[in-house]
Amino acid sequence: MSPIEGFLYGLGLSLSPDILIAALVAGLAGTLIGVLPGLGPVAGASLLLPITFAYEPAIGIILIMGVYMGAQYGGSTTSILLGIPGEASAIPATFDGFPMAKKGRAGPALVIVAIGAFIASTLSLLAVTFSAPFVSQFATKFTSVEFFALTAGGLFLLARISGAQAGAGIGASLLPMFVGLGLAMVGTDPTQGSFRFTFGQIDLSLGFDLASVAVGLYGISELIMMLEEKISKNRARAVKLRELVPSKSELRQASFPWVRGSVIGFLMGLLPIPSATMSAFTSYRVEQSISKTPERFGKGAVQGLAGPEAANAAAAVGSMVPVLMLGLPFSATLAIAIAALIVQGIQPGPLLVTQQPELFWTVIASLFIVNIVLFILNVPLVSIWVRVLRTPRHILLPIIVVFAMIGSFSVNNNMIDVYVMLAMGVVGYFFRKLGFGLAALLVGLVIGPLIEKYFLQSMLVSHGDISYLISTPVAAIIWIAVVASIVWSAISGVRKRRRRVKDGQPVALTTIGEDE
């Protein structure tokens, strides 16, 4: 099946009422989650996870990915209207989107984001469609050695890049990763079926559930953080439909940044990094550096809004390549997407395209439908999102908590998942406060069993020869990248410390891409 035939086949399957409704619900829920304070795409997707178990796998992954894509858009809405980013990837949208809103151009800014996200997601989907058979063919040659390097090395790189506050050191980024891996070992052992770390509690035999851990780490801890802030007196101004149309000049200024942002986002989506956030920042830098009027950036430059927003939308779609074709999630939300498939007995990977083409192409075509749904609905519904933004905190907060409790309990109909959610909320709060990364913990929890599986397979094949783990070019390159990241961070850490000592400056409090 050629890529075009595959896509059309998937489109045919996707045009069923169930999948169209799922795309609609996911797009709307994702945007709502992006707009709402206290719920990011990770917590939102994990709340939806238990619901996906009741439906076919295609619907499950569409719900999760729809939330991911919708949340990117919803996050930008608050960036533009309030100057408060709904998600980490929407931070660059505050730089020029909010100044545009202050100049009375909020409507055009929202439309520029919507058109940019649509173009970027479409281009990215085309790239996924045409590259899928080749990537999958290439990946079928991978053995447990390459997969071990991709899972373990990729997780390590993710922990180093998105792990902790800048300047926090290697320990602060690796500790959460090992906590995630450690929690992943709880439950039934895959080799002999014996119980590990269950301490006689039968409730723990299934291990720690991803949804409860994610909702606690990201959702509950975020709500506590929200309570620490004074209620903002900024109220989003209503945007009328007639104020939405951008001028010809604004559209012209946005056109090339949309394309550049799409390319940057797609390529970064393939990497083991918090791609939506980092591609948005990279695109902003690129636009600023090639602009003839860089002084306008930060004051309402259309390019500074269009490029990053296209980049984060393209990255969200591009990151589906490692998920569907290698079975590797490089962000917390994608880890949840993988979990939605694994629970249904589907192991994403290079064989998915050939062995389950109907699922693969349905998912690709459905993402296209989600994209159209988001484009059609979000702009006309902007006044509703503004109204959502005005919902008082004291009403919103208990509703989110009750949703979180229902979501956690319904996974296994077991109270232990609700207790885990609560405990993880406290852990997440202190980890955030102290600058420890959360993404590596969650991704570690999901891919920990995979890392163990590939490690054990490699050891069985090689009769216990450790050097076998770097015996192929792909594995060697990945491990070289891991070592390079350690060396580089050590060198830059020493440099920064020297500079700080010289200048007497404090450490910057930055955490990259925690929301993805």
Binding site: A168, T277, I406
Partner: protein, 168 residues
């Protein structure tokens, strides 16, 4: 709403807060992590490790546990060597809100298996809404209670999700 760039509250002027030493708290986390991973390795050693040629269920957890110990030691060393930086904890009204929220959530979770979702959820929502605001408290409490009841009903009826039931 999460922002990836955390601005110290004292600079942003948002909310009342007091400073705590990040290196000192990280040292505490590192030590707790160290103890936890030592316990983890001890527990892992009780499982059959097998060998590299024939790995048993304990082999990989031992590797993870040792990795965790190394990471925790790094956290401790880095905390001891780190320059003084601070983060904030809330005080005043914000601290009261946080404590009210956490204690309320804890009580709700504890009562959930006894009273069930349809009793706990509206009571929790009403009390939380009432406690987190000073204006229109009764109206907020009623709206919250009704909304969560509606949501719980929708989950059971339309999504066929099972909720915690009362013990009777």
């Amino acid at each position: 709403m999460t922002s990836a760039i955390q601005v110290p509250r004292s600079e942003s002027g948002e909310g009342e807060s007091f400073d705590i030493s990040v290196p000192r708290w990280r040292l505490g986390v590192g030590l707790i992590g160290l103890l936890a991973f030592i316990g983890y390795v001890i527990e892992a050693l009780r499982l059959e490790p097998g060998s590299l040629t024939e790995p048993g269920p304990g082999l990989f957890p031992i590797i993870i546990g040792v990795g965790g110990i190394v990471a925790a030691v790094f956290v401790v060393i880095e905390a001891l060597r780190a320059p003084m930086t601070t983060t904030t904890l809330p005080k005043g009204r914000q601290a009261k809100d946080v404590i009210f929220f956490v204690v309320g959530l804890l009580l709700a979770v504890l009562l959930l298996p006894i009273l069930g979702m349809f009793i706990v959820a509206p009571i929790y929502a009403a009390v939380t809404a009432w406690g987190l605001t000073t204006k229109h408290r009764i109206r907020g409490a009623i709206i919250s209670a009704v909304l969560v009841l509606g949501a719980a009903y929708a989950f059971t009826e339309f999504l066929e999700v099972r909720l915690p039931q009362p013990i009777w």
